[in-house]
Symmetry: C2
Subunit: 104 residues, 2 copies
Amino acid sequence: MDRKYEKHLFICTNQRPEGARVSCGEAHGLALVAAFKKAILHNGLTTEIRTQRTGCMETCEMGPSVVVYPEGIFYGHVQLSDVDEIVSEHLINNRVVERLKLTF
Amino acid sequence: MDRKYEKHLFICTNQRPEGARVSCGEAHGLALVAAFKKAILHNGLTTEIRTQRTGCMETCEMGPSVVVYPEGIFYGHVQLSDVDEIVSEHLINNRVVERLKLTF
């Protein structure tokens, strides 16, 4: 196999000090990582799909942010209630979740 | 533009406790992030290319690890002395640095 992961999700967990510029936030980011991991495990896809925390992706104003590679699709304002939809629609069925997609 | 970054590098900064399984290491990972950022800035490519820290990519035994998306090319055993070559060869000229490339 040439590609290690079919889908590789990076979730921002960047936390800025209180009063500074808006940030995605460590607590929310880590909760998203845990929720994605749980959904991916539940679907038996831990070999094909990897999800993990990352630093700032410069989409702070539209955070909490998630990027899915290799497509390079960014999702913004991602809430825990969005995780199942991103997993079932995008990660499993390759259908981008347009309502959360960021455009640049 | 549909794609936010032409190249998006994620560098593992995962640090396990002493005596635990090998890890890429926070100090080395952050030094790599800084070196890549400096080289990318030096080449005037901060809009097109983003580099940032990330968590474990499950390539611990072959770390320190870097992945370049959208290609999904993983590099292993990456040292500070390798940064300029990865930037000039891969990021600028789209030529994979075969001697550091991981295969799966």
